[in-house]
Subunit: 325 residues, 2 copies
């Protein structure tokens, strides 16, 4: 039988493409396999390039407003630039639209894009607009980063502590359409705390942690009860009668930063709350960072409060595989 | 009644976006409104960025092989970089695919992309792959150009001669899936003949000429019988019992270069053929360039061999408008 995409999954496909695409070019620092590509640029700086495609009924549904669709399509790209330690700069917008689409709808998409572009001083330099039976939006974003601040997925070392920004889970409740990409936080981190690795959580904490571990050739242990849960995920779990940690570990589109530090961060510690094992710090932007685990030699394990291994049912979101596989 | 995209058309939409997107950034040389965006880069060079979205049943149909789809999706972007006088460098590939797509089909798309990438030394640096009910492919390409060789749409001057490379029309017969982007020719032109303006013919000769005229604030007269017709368009016109010139003037996706010169090019002239008013030259790559008209003060007119104005039924391809409107 011929292999289908749903058999090898999104990660399988990316690996397949990356393996065929070994790049031998002295100008290319990083090709396929990080949040953005890294290319030689001006003195002391690298150029970053990233692209994301959003499709109707997959990344947004009928309930999403055109403003939200535009906003999200730029936000996911800014998040990728942030995860490299960089500053977003220029965007190109590819839009596939039905002929019957109202001009007002398109204006609203652009209003969403521009509202975020303005906030992060991103300039929209052009794009391509074509007819399509389903709506598609593909934004490509360039950015730049000082060479010394470039932070990749492949630098995590055994013994490093693992942190996340903000709180996880429940992005399905709407946060994925309105989140603020963590540029300010990432810039603070690369300038002051020098993370050994960093990634944005787009496909789920465990899924993206796996990427860091594979790239860094290490393993990780995560203390489940240390994972900062969003208010949304707690109420969602109650409603669905599911474990909120399971939702937070595997839910995609949180767009928080996952990073590793080799040292104790010189920051204000989070006030300890009774009955809560939170261990973290407050960034100057008031966003919390929480230590959720540690880098190990190999394998990814999830531990309960008694340090017992919790079985992982599924590891995250894959565009081509069905949930649970 | 609410305005629909099909009412304002693709050009109407682009104008609408460009007007709202006035850019005041000293790093941006050209934003929306040319074949590629132009940004400050290394000493003596500009960075070029362009993106194109191709959609199933619009830009390719079931008869196109996945190899051809991949090939074309990169070729249209390389053509944009060529039209700026630049050299293509790095590509990002956004792919929307059905879950049922075979892995072999995706491999073939990439084989098509790579075959052309290799020819032009383009490196594929990454991308995004998502599930989609219709196939979508969106390639973003960066390039670079020496400052002195950058050629825009807005430099045509009254009295300049108008040229095209190669022969026009009939791309519908398959050339649009296998054309070789005119990088070599464009590079020769910018280094040796210094065109005052240049564009690639993606939406039809008249349609793209209109863009040059609008950007340069000039007009143009085109001598219909001077237009170099492809063999394909001559046989197609016979079959369809249509005027081959009409097809060549309005057919999209030729991906030849349209450019203007202020002087007589110091090149080998084309051998004159009996009964043929061809007036052109041979580039070192053996590709012909043909003079088809002249830049005027205003308006675009098409003239027959007796210098009489030919009525223009339609001016080119618009993604959102129906043919003939």
């Amino acid at each position: 039988m011929q292999k289908k995409l749903k058999d090898i999954g999104e990660f399988g496909l990316i690996k397949r493409i990356a393996e065929a695409e070994r790049i031998f070019d002295k100008e290319v620092i990083v090709g396929i396999g990080d949040d953005a590509a890294v290319i030689k640029y001006k003195e002391g700086r690298y150029l970053l390039l990233t692209t994301d495609m959003l499709i109707e009924n997959i990344h947004f549904d009928k309930k999403a407003t055109p403003f939200q669709i535009g906003y999200k399509s730029l936000a996911v790209n800014i998040s990728d630039i942030a995860a490299m330690g960089g500053i977003p700069k220029y965007a190109l917008v590819g839009l596939g639209l039905k002929k019957e689409t109202s001009v007002k709808f398109v204006d609203e998409i652009y209003r969403g894009i521009r509202s975020l572009a303005k906030k992060f001083k991103v300039k929209i330099l052009g794009g391509d607009t074509v007819a399509s039976s389903k709506m598609v939006i593909n934004i490509t974003l360039s950015g730049e980063v000082e060479k010394k601040y470039l932070t990749l997925r492949n630098g995590a070392k055994i013994g490093d502590k693992i942190y996340v920004t903000g709180a996880l889970g429940g992005s399905i409740l709407g946060k994925h359409l309105s989140f603020i990409p963590r540029v300010k936080e990432a810039r603070y981190l690369v300038k002051n705390l020098h993370p050994t690795s960093m990634i944005d959580i787009s496909d789920g904490l465990l899924s993206d942690l796996k990427r860091v571990c594979e790239a860094s050739k290490v393993g990780a242990k995560i203390y489940q009860e240390k994972i900062p849960l969003s208010k949304g995920v707690i109420s969602l779990a109650k409603k669905k009668k599911e474990d909120p940690y399971q939702l937070a570990l595997t839910g995609g589109e949180d767009f928080e930063l996952l990073f590793t530090l080799s040292h104790h961060p010189p920051l204000y510690p989070l006030p300890s709350r009774e009955g809560k094992a939170e261990e973290g710090f407050i960034l100057p932007s008031k966003v919390h960072i929480t230590q959720i685990g540690q880098i190990t030699k190999r394998g990814i394990v999830l531990l309960d409060e008694k340090n017992k291994i919790i079985h992982l049912r599924k590891i995250g979101f894959d565009h081509f595989k069905d949930v649970g596989s």
